[in-house]
């Protein structure tokens, strides 16, 4: 059996979740690799949540929110953008594969973009292989 990546996707309730919904309703094809966690806003997603997903065995994490200017809470995504920028730099710095943690803007009307994002991310992670670096194993390395 070939290995399929497992990707945790934190989608904002107002745009990206609706975008994912639209992708489904429109019967767009994309790989069944994501497990969606609906969050009120992309800025709700903390680094601990992202790293916890990887630690628990996810092969990749996607955080997706509204385009700048479209945030339901006006500026949540703009705060989030700065934070994710810094987080991504930090993760790269310590040698975590940068492809595993991705950020996107997907609006409610962009079902096609959502499908593309998932396909592309799946491809990237397939190239990397399973997440062994940041996955916790009981009684593992000390």
């Amino acid at each position: 059996m070939s290995w399929e990546p497992r990707i945790i996707a934190f989608l904002c309730n107002w745009c990206s979740y609706a975008g994912a919904d639209l992708a489904g309703v429109s019967r767009l094809r994309y790989p069944p690799t994501i497990r969606i966690v609906r969050v009120p806003c992309s800025s709700r997603v903390s680094p601990a949540m992202i790293l916890d997903a990887l630690k628990s065995g996810a092969d990749g994490v996607l955080v997706s929110g509204c385009h700048p200017g479209d945030c339901h809470y006006l500026t949540g995504n703009l705060f989030a953008r700065r934070r994710f920028f810094m987080l991504k730099k930090l993760l790269e710095f310590v040698g975590l594969e940068p492809e595993r943690v991705q950020f996107a803007w997907v609006s409610a009307s962009e079902g096609d973009v959502f499908a593309k994002v998932v396909s592309e991310l799946t491809e990237k992670i397939k190239l990397l292989g399973p997440n062994t670096r940041f996955r916790k194993i009981l009684g593992g390395k000390i």
């Binding site: 194993i137 009981l138 009684g139 000390i142």
Partner: protein, 330 residues
């Protein structure tokens, strides 16, 4: 009984016994590791041999992580009998103090049973050492199975237990030595004890009133620089507090025991949020009251072997002696 091991034969002998035993030695200034040719014997290591008896991660149960599953107990079971070489006498003494509390704890006991402890006397006391003041006689080798004294040509080895005697019964590298060698050991011991008396502070602490000590006003000032981190407790060869945690990954679960520091806010916090030692100074006070009053009152000895690691490593510059001085001159 005494043996002698020529200095150059040490590494060879460690390799030899590694074939039969699991051998750990001090490998760097940081601490112990399996013997693979590397040996650091200049000074006492940062981490003591405590980690072999109260390990960083002692699994006590394994279980399937679903409601209603039955756990299976796990006990430490080494494939080969363990030997830890290069344990400092103060650290071994620390184990005997822990044993006063953990005498019936099967996890600690199992590890004691399956381990042979070979001690090594320090050439010189370190700058922060004060074991003698706490009543530790390093030459007595309490808690050890054998004790190595470094001399000009090699190591004089004093056997201290049946386990030690059994190990050395047929070690070819060692030669039996006579009375002269024994006398040189005794002489070294005598010289050491004359130079290093027990501190009178301990007797004063025994007599001190517990509540008066607790209420003393010096605690606030002493605790001000304290960061309430866990360095002193984790490095201490006598600190034995532990935490119990359930760890789950997927369907696999383990209940583990791990070292815990009384300096942490979480240490005494109830699930309700109430914390009897909420303030940093209360936690600071509790640590020293435990070592130099509660434990001393109950067992007649302080919960401290004077290894000086806390003084050496405390980033805030807290000195244990200043605390003892304040407590004993109240």
């Amino acid at each position: 009984m005494f043996y002698f091991l020529p200095r150059e034969a040490l590494k060879n002998w460690l390799s030899e016994i590694s074939k039969v035993h699991e051998v750990f030695v001090p490998v760097s200034p940081s601490g112990f590791g399996p013997y693979e040719g590397k040996l650091y014997l200049e000074k006492k290591t940062k981490l003591s041999a405590k980690e072999f008896f109260l390990p960083w991660r002692e699994v006590i149960l394994k279980f399937e992580a679903r409601p209603g599953a039955l756990p299976s107990p796990v006990f430490f079971e080494p494939v080969k009998e363990r030997i830890i070489f290069g344990v400092r006498p103060c650290d071994a003494k620390g184990l005997t103090l822990i044993e006063k509390v953990f005498g019936e704890d099967p996890f600690f006991q199992k590890r004691r049973e399956k381990t042979i402890l070979l001690g090594l006397l320090c050439k010189e006391p370190g700058r922060e050492c004060f074991g003698w003041a706490m009543g530790v006689n390093p030459f007595a080798g309490e808690g050890l199975d054998a004790l190595f004294l470094e001399q000009a040509e090699g190591y004089l080895v004093k056997l201290l237990s049946p386990k030690g005697e059994k190990l050395f019964k047929d070690q070819e590298a060692f030669e039996k030595v006579g009375e002269e060698a024994q006398n040189s050991f005794k002489k070294a011991e005598k010289e050491f004890l004359e130079k290093h008396p027990k501190a009178p502070a301990l007797e004063k602490l025994k007599e001190a009133d517990l509540l008066k000590l607790y209420e003393a006003d010096f605690w606030e000032g002493l605790a001000l620089p304290c960061l309430n981190c866990g360095i002193c407790t984790f490095l201490c060869p006598t600190c034995y507090c532990f935490d119990v945690q359930d760890e789950v990954v997927g369907l696999e679960g383990e209940r583990v025991r791990l070292p815990e520091a009384c300096m942490f806010e979480l240490y005494s916090r109830h699930a309700s949020g109430h914390n009897p030692r909420r303030s940093p100074v209360a936690r600071f006070r509790n640590r020293f009251m435990h070592k130099f009053k509660y434990f001393l009152d109950e067992y007649g000895e302080p919960l401290c072997v004077g290894c000086g690691r806390c003084n050496e490593e405390c980033p805030a510059g807290i000195n244990l002696w200043e605390v003892i001085r304040a407590m004993s001159t109240l």
